[in-house]
């Protein structure tokens, strides 16, 4: 349990740090609104021409956009900054400080950074989802709600595992800096439900980069499209990815300690 305590401590320090830079909050709000605005423009342009896209109506796609914004905010708040710092430390050979702490190394490197203001995105995304649900005349249904939240958690975990796997390769290949850029590009695909993409791209976005699970699956849950089979599949994939990520991480650390000793 010391690990969790440690995580909370880092979180607290991270939040206090962010309060020092309050100007960033306004910049973040502006950025969120610009992203949302351009997203809405895109959505409206599409639905000016058609009334549905791959079986999704306009309000459904608004829900997708809301989830996309929420998850994206969470990734940029909690996952990406930690992984970028990790990448930097592996490259510079300064990871030793983290590895010598008396806590699980994977947990430690995953909780050291937290960008509070990115939560503006999470909040805005949630509001967009609610607006979409109102437009859909959504009726509260305990299974969709449970499905939604569990899918969100699993999606977040999968993205985290994906990042950790990629970042761990920095133990062997030092130049992985372009990954962040690449992920951002691919994540943008989540703005639309993956059903509309050609097969090869859909599989890529499902299994290589888990964008489908991070965005489309939770959005399917809340709009009543999620089947139990898909949910089970998500669970299985989460567990598998976690095991893979953990294994690669442990091998990488061993490798790193061996090389720097």
């Amino acid at each position: 349990m010391t690990g969790i305590k440690l995580a909370f401590n880092y979180l607290r320090i991270g939040i206090m740090n962010e309060f020092q830079y309050r100007a960033n909050l306004y910049i973040q709000i502006l950025q969120t609104f610009i992203a949302l605005g351009t997203g809405l423009i895109g959505l409206n342009l599409v639905f000016a021409q058609t009334s549905q896209l791959g079986g999704w109506g306009k309000a459904d796609l608004l829900a997708v956009m809301g989830v996309f914004t929420m998850t994206g905010g969470f990734i940029r708040a909690a996952i990406q900054p930690n992984m970028e710092r990790l990448m930097e430390e592996i490259r510079e050979g300064t990871l030793d400080y983290a590895l010598t702490k008396p806590a699980d190394s994977q947990l430690l490197v995953s909780v050291r950074e937290f960008r509070l203001w990115q939560l503006v995105d999470v909040l805005t995304g949630a509001i967009v989802v609610i607006i979409a649900l109102v437009q859909l005349n959504w009726l509260m249904d305990i299974w969709s709600v449970l499905g939604f939240f569990s899918a969100l958690v699993m999606g977040g975990l999968m993205v985290y595992c994906f990042w950790l796997i990629i970042t761990s390769t920095a133990f062997w290949f030092v130049r992985v800096h372009e990954i962040a850029n690449l992920f951002e590009g691919l994540y943008a695909a989540g703005r639309w439900p993956v059903d509309i993409y050609p097969n090869w791209l859909r599989y890529g976005l499902t299994f290589l980069v888990p964008v489908a699970f991070a965005v489309t699956v939770p959005a399917s849950a809340i709009t009543g499209r999620l089947t139990f089979e898909t949910w089970l599949g998500a669970l299985a994939l989460t567990v598998t990815l976690f095991i893979i990520a953990r294994t690669i991480w442990l091998i990488g650390v061993k490798n790193y300690s061996g090389a720097s000793a």
């Binding site: 100007a23 306004y26 910049i27 502006l30 950025q31 610009i34 605005g37 351009t38 423009i41 895109g42 342009l45 599409v46 000016a48 021409q49 058609t50 549905q52 896209l53 791959g54 130049r175 372009e178 850029n181 690449l182 951002e184 590009g185 691919l186 943008a188 695909a189 703005r191 639309w192 509309i196 993409y197 050609p198 090869w200 791209l201």
Partner: protein
């Protein structure tokens, strides 16, 4: 004049050798960039298919052509970022380039122009691969091709001018990111980057005519893919040249004021 030609050739040659050392990094960068147009392409192709094969004059094949050419024009649009100006001033890079008997903006123009040569070379296999997947409908005439060649370089110059102007705001204040973000959002919508402008509402299209964005982005693409009448092709080139001249004049004026300020408050 001969000295400037010599400078441009030498500087571009250097940029080519320098960037050619990193084909992988350059490719990663381009692949990361490609996700964006592929998404647009897929969405709009789906819409077109659903509407009976065409939307706003674009078939799925035409969208494929638009967004594949988009990737090249986007690459030509990459210039020194306005966010870099603060770094440049703070690190003293600017002071060092002010010591040379040549206007520092020539450095930027020449260096990135050299880089573009590498980028275009690397783009060709990428475009071929994308064409295999998305089957573009592209039949340019020789004239289209010639106009396109000039149009992408003019687009590069336009964006160099506008982003330099934007970056120079840093001489007065370092709280610039809000301004930059707004600029980029306007550019996204009004340039033809998000969708071909002909899919935009009428009034947006008319508005876009008066901004530099579409001349640096949408116009070169349309020139190659759009069966534009010769008259429109020439008007486009004319608008590009006008924006370059206007931009260069604005840059040199703002530059003078900015440097006066810079040398008053410290280098």
């Amino acid at each position: 004049m001969r000295r400037y030609i010599d400078f441009y050739i030498t500087s571009m040659k250097m940029a080519v050798i320098e960037q050619w050392q990193y084909p992988v990094a350059n490719y990663f960068y381009m692949i990361g960039m490609i996700a964006e147009p592929v998404i647009y392409m897929v969405v709009w192709s789906a819409v077109a298919t659903q509407q009976g094969g065409e939307v706003g004059g674009y078939t799925p094949g035409a969208f494929a052509a638009y967004y594949i050419v988009w990737t090249l024009v986007r690459s030509m649009n990459v210039v020194f970022t306005p966010y870099g100006w603060e770094w440049r001033i703070r690190q003293g890079q600017l002071s060092m380039s002010l010591m040379r008997p040549i206007h520092p903006l020539h450095n930027d123009v020449a260096f990135f122009a050299g880089w573009k040569v590498v980028v275009i070379t690397l783009w060709i296999p990428l475009a071929l691969a994308l064409s295999l997947f998305f089957k573009p409908d592209l039949h340019p005439t020789l004239l289209d091709g010639i106009v396109f060649f000039f149009a992408i370089w003019f687009a590069y110059l336009i964006r160099t001018m506008t982003l330099s102007l934007l970056g120079m705001v840093t001489f007065w204040t370092t709280r610039v990111s809000a301004l930059f973000e707004l600029y980029f959002a306007a550019e996204l919508v009004l340039s033809g980057r998000l969708v071909p402008l002909s899919l935009m509402p009428e009034w947006v299209q008319r508005l876009a005519w008066f901004f530099p964005f579409r001349w640096a982005f949408g116009y070169p693409i349309e020139a190659l893919i759009g069966n534009m009448p010769v008259r429109d092709l020439l008007i486009g080139l004319g608008m590009q040249v006008a924006w370059i001249i206007f931009g260069a004049a604005a840059v040199s004026l703002v530059w003078k004021v900015a440097i006066r300020r810079f040398s008053a408050v410290g280098g």
